[in-house]
């Protein structure tokens, strides 16, 4: 067939004919000779993004598969019923009517004391029966998971034993109960390591709990009844049957199916986060590819013009370079997929702390190919942007030197079509990942805004340098800075890729620091840093005396009475909960309120409306109360509205007399509802006290003494919270940083690629400068200034955006006062600047070793 044969068919058909002709591909191959290495290097810029997507895609499938396969072991039972109050004999009879096997578990917080006198707040689970029915408690020795139930002893969280250097067989104290460590607890089905960090777990047999005097009236306890049914029982039907009665008794329940759904949601959140981060890296790589092809095409303009003179038509010449672009994308995609398959083996370990089961890893090929398809398409769209102008190259350029590729680009509808497709692709991907279109749109929007802002900064910078570069600056400075705007500069690309990387990492770091800073703040301000709770009424005086003897101040003390809502503004909670049109969140209605009574506002509280102590008279038998503003908003309460509380069986009518704002960030006894004095004095209560310990030694001494004299009293100290929070954030930060690495890695690859593609131009410029008398040191300094200014500016813009984002997060998401952390910002600036200079100078090393003649004689 004539490669240039006339075609009476459509232009698309004609193009396809050219595209698939052997000559096109042969020419594409020959034409790439001088630039293959650079093009290959650039194809690696999409590699990391595609690698991340490929790795994450299989992980997502694996997680879902595991949830589906192992759902029952995640709950450990077919059905679980939860309560904050002990099950009554009537309830137990009702449970027996369900049939099947039952296991009763009591959960509560208590101090765990070790032989060396140290103590730590833990989550105790007292078990009776065979829970977990599905899956196993993993212990060391393995037999301990069963033997402790009959032989006694405690299974203690492995990390605690390691931390406090305690061995199996050693004695521990749980409140007033002295027992021995029967085994190390390694894993509990359905619970994550992150969760265990937050609340270390200790399992004991229920009989031991009954023998001790650990649980006092008012203690924070959860009671759970687990059920295993035979295959003949349809759990869904059973739940439909017994559900209304359970709800009437204020008992919540969980089935395998619901747990599966909840966990599926949580896991897909994790998966979405991972894949969206991977996608950012891919987009960054796309920008790199577009830039590489742009440079490549600019070098090829003359070749295109000559080909056109020799009779090559528009479609043929476009097909040659499209073929190169596609090959570049295909190589990057395949390399990315291979890398992704490698990362897949690591990824389950990265997310292990946030997944409540061991991820069985298997490659899901359909998902791998889907991810490759997405990656390749995005790469192709980015590549088309610089490729399409090839169509506009005139053969005149072969005889006229001054030919501008950029002529009339605004009228090229194909370029606009690519932009639209690219935008639509990004939005579609974001929505498909986030499943909610608002989120998808805002993610795509935020991304576009950051890209646009970075690109805009680059343009403004170039304009400023061009316009205001002082002519009094030394030559090397002027030369280095002018390179920022001269033809073939990489200012926009570098600022976008480096800036985005800086922005992502710094935002994550600053957010973590912001949260921690809130806690550290109260540590500094001489505020309470330890809280004692579960102090029984008769223990109040001796506990105060104990603190006095230890020279510790009682900063605040408050009685706590547990209660539930019975009705709101005349409507019973049940009827509100059953109302499908209700806007009140269910938890506000169902929760147990731990309220206090006093006649003043505390230092963490601020009046919004009404008065406290109340001034207005209320009706007889109606108690005025003060409500926290968030709860008032959720319940739709205004001054004068009436509520009925069920105070451990006794109904109590209350009227909103005050709405308060509470500063929850302070480690103080804070409450949603405050009653006046003399209203709740008769109700079962416990006390909570706050104090300040000067050191961890002092804290340890206090906890030791408390555990010895008042085993039921638990202590939380700020150091513990800080440590725990830090550990959890560290775990989260590890996952986040791991994924951010893909963006940073891509940014670095783009940077190296960018520097290398501009190397030839640099070599030629340097040679000319040297021919004209510049020393090697001057040439090096020019390069140094150029890369330093690029790096520092990219870092600066990225850091500014991160500070802005951090401020937004502080104000709107975490709702904490914003603190500007200068050090990390400066470190980021320095690091990005230094990295850019090092890579820039390394990639350009040897520039001065070329003999001038080599360049002056040869054009290639």
């Amino acid at each position: 067939m004539n490669a240039n044969a006339p075609s009476s068919r459509s232009p698309v058909w004609a193009f396809l004919q050219h595209f698939f002709s052997a000559w096109t591909w042969r020419m594409a191959w020959r034409d790439s000779r001088s630039s293959r290495r650079h093009l290959l290097l650039f194809s690696t810029s999409i590699m990391l993004g595609i690698g991340a997507l490929v790795a994450v895609s299989s992980l997502g499938r694996n997680l879902q598969q595991h949830i589906d396969d192992q759902a029952r072991s995640l709950v450990g039972a077919d059905l679980v019923v939860n309560s904050r109050r002990p099950f009554t004999p009537e309830m137990n009879d009702f449970f027996k009517s369900f049939g099947g096997e039952q296991s009763f578990v009591v959960n509560f917080s208590s101090m765990l004391g070790f032989e060396n006198g140290q103590a730590r707040l833990v989550q105790v689970r007292a078990i009776e029966g065979g829970f977990p029915f599905y899956g196993q408690l993993e212990t060391e020795p393995a037999s301990a998971a069963q033997s402790f139930r009959t032989g006694g002893g405690a299974l203690v969280e492995d990390s605690l034993l390691a931390q406090y250097n305690v061995q199996v067989g050693d004695t521990v104290r749980i409140g007033g109960l002295t027992t021995r460590v029967a085994g190390r607890l390694l894993a509990v089905p359905g619970e994550t390591v992150a969760f265990a960090t937050f609340a270390p777990r200790v399992y004991i047999p229920l009989d031991d709990l009954r023998r001790s005097n650990l649980i006092q009236p008012g203690s924070l306890v959860r009671f759970r009844m687990y059920f295993r049914f035979g295959p003949e029982v349809n759990v869904k039907e059973l739940v439909e049957q017994v559900g209304p009665q359970l709800e009437a008794d204020r008992l919540s329940y969980d089935t395998v199916e619901e747990r599966q759904k909840d966990l599926g949601r949580a896991m897909s959140n994790l998966y979405q986060y991972l894949s969206l981060t991977g996608f950012v890296a891919l987009l960054l790589g796309g920008v790199g590819v577009a830039s590489a092809i742009n440079v490549h095409i600019r070098e090829k303009l003359n070749t295109v013009a000559v080909l056109r003179c020799l009779g090559c038509n528009v479609q043929q010449s476009f097909a040659i370079y499209l073929a190169q672009g596609l090959a570049l994308g295909a190589i990057g995609t395949v390399a990315g997929a291979l890398l992704g398959l490698g990362i897949q083996a690591v990824l389950p370990r990265v997310v292990a702390d946030f997944v409540p089961f061991e991820v069985q890893f298997a490659v899901s090929w359909p998902d791998v190919f889907k991810a490759m398809g997405i990656g390749f398409t995005i790469c192709l769209l980015f590549a088309l942007l610089p490729l399409l102008p090839v169509r506009r190259v005139s053969p005149l350029a072969a005889i006229r030197a001054s030919f501008d590729l950029a002529e009339a680009p605004r009228r090229d509808y194909a370029v606009w079509l690519v932009y639209v497709l690219l935008g639509a692709g990004i939005v579609a991907f974001s929505i498909s990942q986030a499943r909610r279109w608002e989120f998808g749109l805002s993610f795509a929007g935020a991304l576009a805004a950051v890209f646009a802002l970075l690109a805009l900064c680059a343009r403004v910078l170039m304009w400023l340098v061009r316009r205001y570069l002082p002519s009094t600056l030394p030559y090397v400075w002027r030369q280095g800075l002018s390179n920022l705007y001269r033809p073939n500069n990489r200012t926009v690309l570098m600022l976008v890729s480096l800036g985005l990387g800086t922005f992502l990492i710094l935002t994550l770091y600053l957010s973590q620091q912001l949260l921690l800073a809130q806690l550290v703040q109260s540590e500094k301000e001489n505020q309470a840093n330890a809280i004692l709770f579960d102090i029984q009424i008769d223990q109040k005086k001796p506990v105060v005396e104990l603190l006095d003897s230890l020279k510790l101040p009682v900063l605040r003390e408050a009685p706590v009475v547990s209660m539930r809502l019975a009705s709101v503004k005349g409507r019973s909670v049940e009827s509100i909960l059953n109302d499908e049109r209700r806007t009140m969140p269910g938890w506000v209605l169902r929760r147990e309120y731990r309220s206090t009574y006093r006649d003043h506002l505390s230092s963490t509280e601020e009046r919004i409306t009404g008065d406290w102590p109340p001034k207005a008279e209320t009706k007889k038998d109606v108690v005025p109360i003060s409500v926290e503003e968030g709860i008032a908003r959720d319940l739709g309460l205004r001054l004068g509205d009436e509520l009925v509380f069920d105070v451990q069986g006794v109904p109590m009518t209350a009227m909103v007399a005050s709405v308060r704002k509470v500063d929850w960030r302070r480690l103080e006894p804070n409450f949603f509802i405050v009653f006046p004095t003399k209203a709740l004095e008769g109700a079962p209560a416990f006390y909570i006290m706050s104090t300040r310990v000067a050191s961890s030694e002092e804290s340890a001494r206090m906890q030791r003494e408390l555990l010895r004299k008042f085993p039921n009293v638990s202590t939380v100290d700020l150091t513990l919270i800080l440590n725990t929070l830090n550990q959890i954030l560290d775990k989260a930060a590890f996952v986040i940083r791991f994924m951010a690495l893909f963006s940073v890695g891509t940014g670095l690859l783009v940077l190296i690629g960018t520097v290398l593609t501009s190397r030839f131009q640099r070599v030629r410029e340097s040679i000319l400068l040297r021919t004209l008398g510049a020393t090697e040191a001057q040439v090096q300094r020019i390069l140094f200034i150029e890369y330093l200014s690029l790096g520092v500016l990219a870092g600066l813009v990225g850091a500014l955006l991160a500070v802005l984002a951090n401020w937004g997060l502080a104000k709107f998401v975490f709702q904490v006062p914003y603190v500007l952390l200068g050090t990390p910002v400066l470190v980021a600036l320095g690091a990005v600047g230094a990295l850019t200079v090092v890579i820039g100078l390394m990639a350009n090393r040897g520039v001065c070793r070329h003999p001038p003649l080599e360049i002056l004689r040869a054009e290639v």
């Binding site: 004539n2 490669a3 003179c309 020799l310 038509n313 479609q315 072969a398």
Partner: protein, 234 residues
């Protein structure tokens, strides 16, 4: 066929004018040019820098569109053809030789020569390219890249490339402009020899009076107008 008329001339230029708008006003670089060229004839376009020589060459070869007037090449009026049809016409009827050789730097000598025939999809492109390179004295430099060849050698490769599609007309833009006198003479000899052997019409743009003298006609341009047409032979 679109644009075809009865004509014996290979190139016919009628009332050709080219202006460029520059935002302030328009600049006329060629005005009312008329001439024609018979198959196998040779013609030199001469004139000072900026007189419109290269513009005229570009218009004659269909690389650009005139503001008014027309060019007929091989009997087809160029402004009535689409860009792709003009490309095809160039591939079938036209050869080019440029002042700065314009070889594709990533292609070897033989690959550069093959391109026009490959574009046409003709077989034996390599054999014929090798033969042509041997004829211009480069039989031993087939696999060298342009950067590995001297200026004279590059221009000889360009000549081989210009003749490989057996063009009816060859446009040469200052073919010896970048060559020293000795090399220039050799290259121009080859050019005229190939021209004579293949009956290809030749349009030369040149500053070199001696070279112009070898053409059958000389068209002299000044300020975009034809000031003189000198037939050198009958």
């Amino acid at each position: 066929m679109k644009g075809a008329v009865e004509s014996t001339a290979i190139l016919e230029v009628q009332a050709l004018t080219k202006s460029y708008g520059n935002g302030v006003g328009s600049l006329t670089v060629l005005q009312d040019i008329n001439f024609s060229l018979a198959p196998g004839a040779t013609c030199a376009i001469v004139g000072p820098s900026g007189s419109g020589k290269t513009t005229l060459l570009g218009l004659c070869a269909g690389l650009d569109n005139p503001t008014s007037g027309y060019v007929r090449l091989g009997g087809r009026q160029l402004d009535r053809l689409s860009e792709d049809e003009r490309a095809r016409l160039r591939n079938e009827c036209v050869g080019f030789v440029f002042q700065n050789f314009q070889l594709i730097p990533t292609l070897t000598a033989v690959e550069n020569v093959m391109v026009p025939l490959e574009l046409r999809g003709g077989g034996h492109a390599r054999d014929y390219a090798v033969e042509l390179l041997a004829r211009v004295g480069l039989g031993d430099r087939l696999h060298h890249y342009p950067a590995q060849l001297s200026g004279g050698e590059q221009q000889r490769v360009a000549l081989a490339r210009a003749f490989i599609n057996r063009p009816k007309i060859l446009f040469a833009d200052e073919p010896n402009g970048n060559l020293d006198a000795h090399t220039s003479e050799k290259v121009i000899d080859i050019l005229f020899e190939l021209n004579a052997n293949s009956q290809t019409a030749l349009v030369l743009v040149t500053h070199d009076a001696q070279l112009a003298q070898r053409a059958q006609r000389i068209i002299q341009l000044r300020g975009g107008r034809m000031v003189n047409e000198v037939p050198m032979t009958a």
